[in-house]
């Protein structure tokens, strides 16, 4: 790992590394086959800046109304030593939470260095695991191994110790109306929470304790119905944990990718930036739009080379996994003799093409027959009528 460390600094062109958050990690697992993203994230490259420099800024602007709403809600829940949160845990979920201590791990004596913060998180959690001291640990700084390299995580969550176990509490400002929220938002929150659970478990294991002391049950705290009143919902993130583990294990080994790349590669701004980015293989899918700052650049690239993936994973699957639009169309048109392993896909496409053509031609013929005579044809049609009268 230390061998390639200088390479990573060079990739960033000397800029300071950007921290991961659970969103970026959850998104990383959404596209584990993408080497480009893997390398850029491992090096802590500011992808947003790179995308802007390439002329493809990411559309991740946030409305100040949404930011304000999120902040106000979070402050409200955490006010007075998390008074509302505790009421929720005690009354809403019926947990018998005794004496409470609240530790904010965000700042360490004015110095916000990641190592220091991580050390403090470790120390406090170690003590908690041994003695049961401490209840709410806000903003723990965690670490997670991503593609063979440690990534720091700055979760905006609380680790809540109760009855010898830790639970992740995530405060989100989307509303839960009659026990239901927008499924995409819940899914995203659950995916992120799973990242935190995993990172916390790693830490607990490192400290010599049973990782299961971090519960798979997380608490989502959201405004209830149309009010500002918080409500806590326990969410079992075991399915997300399973996916996450599997994807992280599959994540292309960054070091292997780096070994293949030119030694002088750098993502520093400059004329050769686009070329540098293109050197690392991408695997664009429309899902990238929701999670990766490079999405517009990669989409443009995928479209330019006629990649079926740009139309969506399901389209690519329906085309039997064919990668390029040109090949698929040539097979559909019958202009290309398929290789043996493509015979079935080719037959499907050929038939689909014939069926489409047949249906469209018939519809066209029917429409022409039923359509009122066009102005030019009108005199001809009028002749028999005048004879009849």
């Amino acid at each position: 790992m230390t061998e390639t460390a200088p390479d990573l600094d060079r990739l960033r062109g000397g800029a300071a590394p950007r921290n991961h958050d659970a969103r970026t990690i959850a998104a990383l697992t959404a596209n584990p086959g993408c080497a480009r993203r893997g390398v850029m994230d491992a090096a802590g490259v500011d992808k947003d800046a790179v995308a802007r420099a390439l002329g493809f800024p990411a559309p991740f602007g946030q409305s100040q109304f949404a930011i304000t709403r999120g902040n106000v809600f979070e402050q409200q829940v955490k006010a007075d030593g998390c008074a509302e949160l505790l009421t929720l845990l005690r009354e809403g979920l019926g947990l018998d939470v005794p004496e409470v201590a609240y530790d904010d791990l965000e700042t360490v004596a004015g110095n916000e260095g990641r190592e220091l913060r991580h050390i403090r998180t470790r120390r406090l959690l170690a003590r908690a695991l041994e003695t049961g001291e401490g209840t709410l640990f806000d903003h723990p700084l965690l670490r997670l191994d991503i593609g063979g390299r440690p990534a720091y995580l700055e979760p905006d969550v609380i680790a809540f110790q109760f009855a010898g176990r830790f639970h992740v509490i995530e405060i989100k400002s989307f509303a839960v109306v009659d026990g239901q929220a927008e499924p995409e938002q819940v899914a995203a929150a659950a995916r992120q929470s799973a990242v935190y659970v995993l990172a916390l478990r790693d830490l607990v294991a490192e400290l010599g304790h049973d990782p299961e002391r971090v519960s798979h049950e997380v608490f989502l705290v959201c405004p209830e119905n149309f009010s500002n009143r918080p409500a806590a919902t326990p969410v079992d993130v075991r399915p997300q944990l399973a996916v996450l583990r599997r994807q992280l294990a599959r994540l292309t080994r960054i070091d292997d990718i780096l070994a293949e790349l030119p030694a002088d590669l750098t993502f520093a701004p400059g004329e050769r930036l686009a070329e540098a980015v293109r050197t690392v293989e991408a695997r664009y899918a429309p899902e990238c739009m929701a999670g990766c700052e490079m999405a517009f650049f990669c989409r443009d690239e995928a479209r330019a080379c006629g990649a079926t993936g740009a139309l969506g994973r399901s389209v690519r699957d329906d085309l039997g996994g064919l990668d390029t639009i040109g090949t698929a169309l040539a097979l559909a048109d019958g202009d290309l003799d398929p290789a043996a392993d493509l015979a079935e896909t080719a037959a499907q496409l050929r038939l689909a093409s014939l069926l489409r053509a047949e249906a469209l031609e018939n519809a066209e013929a029917r429409r022409a027959a039923e359509a009122p005579p066009a102005p030019a044809a009108a005199p001809a049609a009028a002749i028999p009528e005048s004879r009849a009268s």
């Binding site: 602007g61 946030q62 409305s63 100040q64 109304f65 949404a66 930011i67 304000t68 709403r69 999120g70 400002s173 989307f174 509303a175 109306v177 009659d178 026990g179 927008e182 405004p223 119905n225 149309f226 009010s227 500002n228 009143r229 429309p286 899902e287 739009m289 479209r303 006629g306 079926t308 740009a310 139309l311 969506g312 399901s314 389209v315 699957d317 329906d318 085309l319 039997g320 639009i325 698929a328 169309l329 559909a332 037959a347 499907q348 496409l349 038939l351 689909a352 093409s353 014939l354 069926l355 489409r356 047949e358 249906a359 469209l360 018939n362 519809a363 429409r367 039923e370």
Partner: protein
């Protein structure tokens, strides 16, 4: 999705323009649909910011909430919207038809029904939440709201509920309706952007699909179709305008400036909506549309007529109702898909591709063949259909004609590039087929193994008989004082 729709996307890429995936229109388009373009305040579940509404392209009303966080203003907005929507509902009932009902009673059906159209699924979701946040409000007491507000809430809830019903045209999302008829050369994610979708289907002069769609992704040129607003607009225009309005203490000029700013955000979508309506209207209507619209009118008639006796829809369905609803939806889905295939050869092509149906030319025909193995002879004409389709059906499988589903038959043998079909029904009552019902040599035919309504009839206990395992008979949902007081912040 299937190879067929995937191929349509590829063809769209090649042509630089959207390609049809239907040859007829599968949805009812009212003469005067009520188009609604809602906007909400970012970060909130259902805090309305504005709605542009109207039943004609040149007559939009723009309702706004100048300070979306102000509860009184929200309810004033809800009351204005209520008047508009309820007026539309009341004026689109048409003539009342009298039909024979059960036990010799007369059943009523309105000759028309109101149709609501919003830009996208987010718009449907917004109406659903707006319905939820208003239907329990009380018109009396300390938290009294305008009498029209809870009525609006119940109607919006009902419309949103009907939207879940496959084949219903009462509340439509333009992006969904368009995608039912055209495939673009972009992904379904991008199709969610109405302007981009319309760019592919009907690019402005001088542009092709991709370039029109690219322009449509610029939020300055094409503001989002809502209900979410463009964050940059929020930060640079809306927030200062709201702040100025607040500072002015509700001054009319500040309000007007705010309104004008919001208008720039909804007007492009408003125009797109009517262009979309025009495109859909220009397609020839499918045969099943009138029948499904009749179901919609039935549902509307029932809800309208029982409105006075009923309570607002519960927060959550009781178990039997939920199970029945799920069953109904599944059945409707199946019937809807079957109808679409019968109405549209391009949809039927999906079944032919998977081998559940086959099409071809009749090469051999015995229209008067009799089956004399039983006590009485039966009319059983035989047809041989030459087809290149990959038929995946067993001999004995019942099939029916795509063009005339009443014409039924079963497969006798498959092979040698053809299928031998024995016709068993839809031939008339005598031992010679009625004229014109049996296809003749040289005719193009299509037979499918999928029939409409293969789903059984629902058997659920009446609500009074809800088993105790499901909580026993549910109580009617009666709104409480808490409901009326519920925050809407």
């Amino acid at each position: 999705m299937s190879a067929l729709s995937a191929l349509a996307r590829l063809e769209a890429v090649r042509a630089g323009r959207a390609q049809p995936v239907a040859t007829v229109r599968h949805v009812h388009i009212a003469d005067a649909p009520l188009v609604l373009v809602p906007l909400k305040l970012a970060g909130e579940a259902a805090a309305p910011l504005a709605v542009m509404a109207g039943a004609a392209p040149d007559a939009p009303s723009l309702l706004i909430v100048p300070q979306p966080r102000n509860r009184d203003q929200r309810f004033a907005f809800a009351a204005s919207l209520a008047r508009l929507v309820l007026n539309h509902v009341e004026t689109h009932r048409g003539e009342v038809e009298e039909l024979p009902g059960k036990d010799g009673e007369v059943r009523l059906r309105y000759g028309d029904a109101p149709q609501l159209l919003v830009p996208n699924r987010g718009g449907v979701r917004f109406l659903r939440l707006l319905g939820r946040s208003t239907r329990f409000r009380s018109t009396e007491g300390a938290y009294a709201v305008d009498a029209a507000v809870p009525v609006l809430g119940r109607w919006l809830t009902w419309f949103a509920d009907r939207h879940d019903h496959p084949g219903s045209s009462l509340l439509g999302a333009a992006t969904e309706l368009l995608r039912l008829h055209w495939a673009t050369g972009q992904s379904s994610l991008e199709d969610g952007n109405l302007a981009a979708l319309m760019g592919w289907i009907d690019p402005p002069d001088g542009l092709d699909g991709p370039s029109a769609a690219a322009l449509a992704e610029d939020p300055v040129r094409w503001p989002p179709a809502g209900p979410a607003t463009d964050p940059t607009f929020d930060n640079e225009v809306l927030a200062p305008a709201i702040a100025a309005y607040d500072r002015s203490g509700g001054d009319a000029r500040a309000r007007e400036r705010l309104r004008a700013a919001i208008e720039t955000q909804v007007t492009p979508t408003w125009e797109l909506m009517w262009r979309a309506v025009g495109l859909l209207r220009a397609l020839p209507e499918a045969a099943g549309v009138a029948r499904r619209w009749e179901r919609d009118r039935d549902a509307f008639t029932h809800y309208h007529q029982t409105f006075g006796e009923a309570y607002p829809q519960a927060r959550r369905d009781p178990p039997v109702r939920a199970a029945r609803r799920l069953h109904d939806l599944e059945r409707a889905q199946e019937a809807y898909e079957a109808q679409r295939a019968f109405d549209d050869p391009l949809v039927m092509a999906e079944q032919r591709l998977t081998g559940a149906a086959f099409g071809g030319v009749v090469t051999e025909c015995h229209p008067e063949r009799l089956d004399e193995t039983g006590k009485r002879p039966k009319l059983r004409p035989l047809l041989r259909v030459a087809t290149g389709d990959p038929v995946r059906l067993e001999p004995g499988t019942p099939v029916c004609s795509a063009a005339r589903p009443a014409l039924k038959g079963r497969i006798v043998e498959i092979g040698g590039g053809g299928v031998l079909v024995e016709l068993t029904g839809g031939l008339g009552r005598r031992l010679v087929p009625e004229a014109g019902v049996v296809p003749v040599e040289g005719d193009r035919v299509c037979f499918t193994s999928r029939t409409e309504g293969s789903f059984g009839i629902a058997r659920f206990p009446d609500r009074e008989d809800t088993p105790w395992t499901h909580g026993g008979p549910p109580e009617d949902y009666v709104p409480t004082a808490d409901d009326a007081r519920e925050d809407w912040s």
